[in-house]
């Protein structure tokens, strides 16, 4: 196969000075919009669509690809430092990343996410270049029944983030389901939980929920504790970047994250959030430092999900470039940019527009390098944010969260929702309910519901589809194994030691 030849040609396209400049502009812009909670890559590219009237296709796609990858890098920065996720794919990063930042290892968290993004982004882009036709063949075999089984598996594995009390965790999870149900039901076109408000018909944006619960809730909690104790600014501990031990703990999660993220990203309905949940769950399970999860912050919990979201961003390009299937909002907008050039993206894209496609793939490799070069030195600057005294810092977060939320759709209703959720986040924090399951429920719940109902419609109400399809059955078996496996394992261990032993905190 002459993939390498094509790729070499692609690099020739991407390595012209103007195209390199477009790549630089794109990655810089992407990092900036990734940092802002409201502005995502889809909206930015949409606003930039008129550029397609001015420049050649290669240049604009290189720009767009830079923005797309850049946003995935930038989104993690605010998650880690301010507990304010910039993108839905970096919500999980905030869980451990922010804990690390507060225990003085913010620099390491940023470094592992930047390098992990680079590693996974590069692996993912290699996947696009070399495996795309194979991967896509399996990806379209995924029907609604398979997706539903995948969701079941995801639900089982994410129980890892439910926290110490499963009653509280499940309460949060179900609260997330309810928020996720708000809006017009896709299957029937009927509004649910909208209370006659037109703005709620499209549902509540997951970013608003994450920012409200994490950032606003946290700010209110801090404000309420202001005079209860001494204000402390955690000094940066150890080196600015990662220590040798942190490198050793990061590299496996990067690779595992990439392995989870790329195939799920390539699934037409996979998305970027689910692989981050799965990666987090896997890392928590495998880590030798379980006690750091949710306390001082475990670096594996940052490295894995960050790698997973970048690899899934690459995965999304697989169906787009091989079949012309837009499987994310950003991909859909990029496809409409193809159309303004009179190029119809479809299964023949790779053959009819080889220059464009391989130039794009090559520029993704370059974008990855530019991004890591751009982001590593910035870490020193970013961590200084944490030296700002708490009142000013939290006031800043509040402004940032408010402006960003307003930026999503310029709707005042969104701000009302943000502050209501902020109040809820405060109460949850006060009464020790975990907030992460809300987000997970909100994303997974409606997806599982939609796929379940689709599967039922197609199968004409026949339940057996979930185990008649081999892929679906495999996923369900994995989920079952995930559920009972640890118990059986524990039982075997117990028998071997010939005596019951209680392992506290072990699931």
């Amino acid at each position: 196969m002459d993939t390498l030849g094509h790729l070499a040609h692609g690099f020739a396209v991407a390595f012209t000075p103007t195209n390199l400049l477009w790549c630089l502009v794109g990655t810089t812009l992407g990092t900036a919009i990734g940092v802002l909670p409201g502005l995502g890559p889809a909206l930015t590219i949409a606003l930039l669509l008129p550029i397609t009237y001015q420049v050649v296709p290669e240049a604009s796609f290189i720009l767009f690809a830079g923005i797309y990858y850049g946003a995935m890098y930038g989104g993690s920065t605010t998650s880690i430092l301010l507990n304010t996720p910039g993108e839905s794919a970096t919500i999980v990063t905030a869980l451990e990343g922010n804990r690390m930042a507060r225990s003085g290892r913010g620099g390491a968290a940023l470094a592992t996410s930047a390098i992990g993004s680079f590693v996974a982004g590069t692996l993912g882009t290699m996947g696009v270049a070399f495996l795309a036709p194979t991967v896509v063949k399996y990806a379209i075999k995924f029907g609604p029944a398979e997706y539903f089984s995948l969701m079941v598996l995801a639900f089982i594995t994410v129980s890892a983030v439910l926290g110490s009390s499963s009653v509280r965790g499940l309460t949060s999870l179900f609260a997330g389901f309810v928020i996720g149900m708000i809006g017009v039901d896709l299957q029937t076109g009927q509004p649910r939980f909208t209370f006659g408000t037109a703005e709620l018909l499209d549902g509540v944006d997951v970013i608003i929920v994450a920012v409200g619960l994490f950032a606003v809730g946290e700010t209110l909690y801090m404000a309420s504790r202001r005079y209860a104790g001494k204000d402390e600014i955690v000094p940066l501990k150890g080196s600015l970047y990662m220590t040798a031990a942190e490198w050793a703990r990061s590299w496996k999660p990067w690779l595992r994250g990439a392995a989870i993220g790329f195939p799920i990203g390539a699934l037409p309905a996979g998305g970027a959030e689910i692989p981050t949940f799965l990666s987090y769950a896997v890392e928590k399970k495998l880590s030798k430092h379980k006690e750091e999860f949710g306390t001082v912050g475990a670096i594996e919990g940052v490295a894995g999900p960050e790698a997973a979201n970048n690899a899934s961003a690459a995965g999304v390009l697989v169906p787009m470039l091989t079949l012309g299937l837009p499987t994310s909002a950003t991909a859909a907008i990029m496809l409409s940019a193809f159309q303004s050039y009179g190029i119809n993206p479809g299964p023949l894209l790779l053959t009819t527009q080889a220059n464009l496609v391989w130039g794009l793939i090559a520029s993704l490799f370059i974008a990855n390098i530019i991004l890591v070069v751009l982001n590593l030195p910035l870490i020193g600057l970013w961590v200084r944010l944490l030296k700002i005294p708490a009142p000013q810092l939290y006031a800043g977060i509040l402004v940032f969260a408010t402006v960003g939320t307003y930026g999503i759709s310029q709707s005042p209703i969104d701000l009302v929702i943000l502050y209501l959720l902020g109040a809820a986040g405060f109460l949850m924090r006060r009464f020790d309910f975990p907030t992460a399951p809300v987000i997970i429920g909100m994303i997974l719940g409606p997806l599982a519901e939609t796929q379940f109902r689709r599967a039922m419609t197609i199968a004409n109400g026949d339940w057996t589809v979930f185990y008649r399809h081999p892929l679906s059955l495999t996923l369900l078996a994995l989920a079952f194994l995930g559920l009972v496996g640890p118990h059986i394992w524990a039982w075997i261990q117990q028998r071997r030691r010939r005596g019951p032993e209680h392992v506290p905190g072990d699931a």
Partner: protein
């Protein structure tokens, strides 16, 4: 290749987007008017692309000095419509892009405002729909499809866009003509074209209905078989009959057009119709339409108003049959 001026224009646009600013274009002629375009949808979708194409063509034809595009998205346009009706009232230099999707959304969402409150200017484009099946499907013609539908509609799951959208409406109309009760249909809605396409390519559904542009490349590549299109007549370069030719008396365009706000003067209305007409007859507009698979179906003023009323009645009836209104 890229020249310096183009590059500067590009970076200026990049900067503008970075601060989420509106798309402002510099005025290069003082005697031509400035236009305000209201898009009741988020950037990137069909209405937004229509607005940006209008802006592009009007400027390149030197008919306006520039335009400002405002996006207020949500709920099929029913979030933006009240704002256009109330806050843009009497503004003679303004246009709103809307279309069939909004007609459906107004009915399904029981919206407080509707399109009789704004001033119809022109219907500009339409996208006809396509009925496709996976390449391995036993259905060779639209007649086969309808026969299977008549035999047992529950065995013929059809993929398309969101419930109550144009794809669902067309499916309802086809079933109605064939005498199959709309309530018995097995319609599988997908949020985006990509997901519906992958369900078809993966052979998970019996057929698919969506805008022809969504399927055209897969049809050319032989991955999908095109059974019929919903246009009024055969289309150049498309090897498939219309639904009418296939014996299904249905014609449907997912149309898009422009409306002025309520309360504008008759002079403003006439001037606006003339402006849009001149644009729609230009070569630049024809090129835009061709690139984007839009069929130009120009209809202006009172004829357009009449068409909107009729289409509202037709859509209302079929949504009721489908149990959505």
């Amino acid at each position: 290749m890229l020249n310096r001026r183009n590059f500067l224009a590009g970076t200026a646009a990049a900067g503008a987007a970075a601060i989420a600013a509106l798309h402002l274009t510099p005025a290069f002629a003082q005697d031509t008017p400035q236009l305000q375009i209201f898009v009741p949808a988020a950037p990137g979708g069909g209405w937004d692309q229509t607005a940006r194409a209008i802006d592009q063509v009007l400027r390149s034809e030197k008919l306006i000095s520039g335009s400002q595009i405002t996006n207020v998205g949500g709920a099929g346009g029913t979030v933006g419509l009240p704002q256009f009706v109330n806050q843009w009232k009497g503004k003679g230099n303004s246009l709103m892009v809307a279309g069939m999707v909004m007609v459906g959304a107004i009915i399904a969402n029981k919206a407080a405002n509707n399109l009789t409150e704004v001033t119809p200017i022109a219907r500009l484009t339409g996208e006809f729909e396509a009925l496709v099946v996976p390449a391995e499907s036993p259905f060779k013609t639209a007649t086969d499809f309808v026969a299977a539908l008549k035999a047992d509609p529950s065995k013929v799951p059809v993929a398309g866009g969101s419930a109550g959208g144009s794809d669902h409406i067309l499916f309802g109309l086809i079933a109605k003509t064939a005498g199959v009760p709309a309530a018995n249909l097995s319609y599988v809605p997908f949020a985006g074209g990509g997901e519906a396409l992958s369900a078809l390519l993966g052979n998970q559904v019996a057929a698919g209905i969506s805008g022809y542009g969504e399927f055209s490349e897969q049809v050319k590549a032989g991955a999908l078989r095109l059974l019929a299109i919903s246009a009024d007549k055969r289309q150049e370069g498309i090897d498939a009959p219309t639904l009418k030719e296939a014996g299904i008396d249905v014609e449907l365009f997912n149309w898009r057009g422009v409306f002025a706000p309520p309360g504008i003067s008759d002079d403003d209305k006439a001037a606006m119709i003339k402006l849009v007409e001149t644009m729609a007859k230009s070569d630049a507009w024809a090129t835009e339409c061709k690139n984007r698979n839009w069929t130009p179906i120009l209809l202006t003023g009172d004829d357009y108003a009449k068409f909107v009323t009729e289409d509202t009645a037709r859509i209302g009836a079929i949504l009721k049959d489908l149990g959505l209104a």
